[in-house]
């Protein structure tokens, strides 16, 4: 098993060559403006020689987003399914996980359940060649925020406390509403 870090753009040609030589690939990226980051799109462009030549290979995707609802990632999921069909690879599924921005601040204990689910995801991929729908559902959680939670978000500005904490830590809280690109 190998991990290719796509932020190493100088390696994209090398990674693209090894993409087609792999039996199974999981492409992982954060959701940037509702799709893959530009750096991932630059890598996807390099994969054109593999169109129609990935028969028998398994291809899965993991998208994580700062927004809590997986619904935001479903639009680009449709593209990934289409891309997989262009390669003629076997679609292993798309795992969508919301609320990832705050993960780094979660304590080890509260991460246990997520870790367990991701271990299961990897196990499914290796043993069955695809992600289990049940695991995907458990990782994704509710597609949209329940009405009560939306009301609570709006009322309390709960998520803003996270941003305020980071802004204060960086001594940037007082300028948080700055509009530096306005033309006076």
């Amino acid at each position: 098993m190998e991990i290719f870090r796509l932020n190493r753009t100088e390696e994209h040609d090398n990674y693209a060559a090894r993409f087609g030589a792999s039996d199974g690939i999981i492409l992982v990226f954060p959701l940037y403006t509702d799709a893959m980051p530009g750096i991932v799109m630059a890598f996807i462009e390099k994969l054109s020689p593999w169109i129609g030549r990935m028969k028998g290979k398994r291809l899965g995707f993991i998208i994580h987003s700062g927004f809590p609802e997986p619904a935001h990632s479903r639009y680009i999921q449709r593209y990934l399914e289409w891309l997989c069909s262009k390669f003629q690879a076997e679609y292993a599924g798309t795992c969508v996980m919301g609320g990832s921005e705050g993960l780094r601040y979660m304590n080890e204990g509260s991460m246990d359940n997520k870790r367990l689910l991701f271990n299961r995801l990897g196990h499914d991929f290796i043993s069955r060649g695809r992600f289990s729908p049940d695991t995907l559902k458990r990782i994704a959680g509710k597609e949209k925020l329940p009405v009560a939670m939306r009301f609570w978000f709006r009322l309390t500005g709960f998520s803003n406390a996270y941003w305020d904490m980071l802004l204060k830590k960086n001594h940037a809280y007082d300028t948080r509403f700055a509009r530096p690109y306005s033309v006076e």
């Binding site: 932020n7 940037y32 799109m41 509009r179």
Partner: protein, 182 residues
């Protein structure tokens, strides 16, 4: 006069679209102000996701590259037209790289829009978006539906709206029709 920012993500102009675009802008110059950015000739870094533009220097990207001039133009315009070839069924990496870098224009705070979490506005007003997909192969235009769906979402997250998607094999006729009514 309406202000229009054109973000050109064409990597290699194989269809002659850019010449048509120049002629179109010339025709409309007495009614509209255009600012045109050719991404392939600009120094723009990939967004690294540091979120510094939200929590370290609010509203300002930490990279000091050519994206600054685009963001200034975008936020003062009425319409932003994104021009891209169809690459592997999606927009070009150049256009994706540029639109990733739009995030300093919005605020990290979350609000509920249409029952979903979205970011709050940083600025008082935002331009509409338009998308032009340029490809010499008309078959590629079947991909426009998927691309449009994603860019409608991107527009919503920019607290704006995607007004149109135009598919072109090199002509600006469809685009001119769209902006003529704008």
């Amino acid at each position: 006069m309406k202000r229009i920012t054109i973000v050109n993500g064409i990597q290699e102009d194989v269809t002659g679209f850019e010449k048509s675009l120049d002629r179109m802008m010339e025709r409309l110059r007495n009614r509209m102000v255009f600012e045109c950015f050719r991404l392939r000739e600009m120094n723009i870094s990939y967004c690294c996701g540091c979120l510094g533009c939200w929590v370290k220097s609010p509203g300002k990207c930490l990279y000091k590259d050519d994206m600054v001039s685009i963001l200034k133009s975008v936020i003062r315009s009425d319409l932003v037209i994104l021009i891209s070839p169809v690459v592997m069924g999606f927009v070009s990496p150049l256009i994706k790289k540029a639109t990733d870098r739009f995030i300093p224009l919005i605020h990290p705070y979350i609000t509920i829009v249409r029952g979903e979490c979205h970011h709050k506005k940083r600025y008082g007003r935002y331009p509409y978006l338009g998308l032009v997909l340029v490809d010499k192969e008309s078959d590629s235009m079947n991909d426009s539906e998927l691309i449009t769906a994603v860019y409608k979402r991107a527009a919503l997250n920019l607290r704006s709206r995607l007004l149109f998607t135009v598919c072109s094999n090199g002509s600006t006729e469809g685009l001119e029709h769209e902006i003529d009514d704008f």
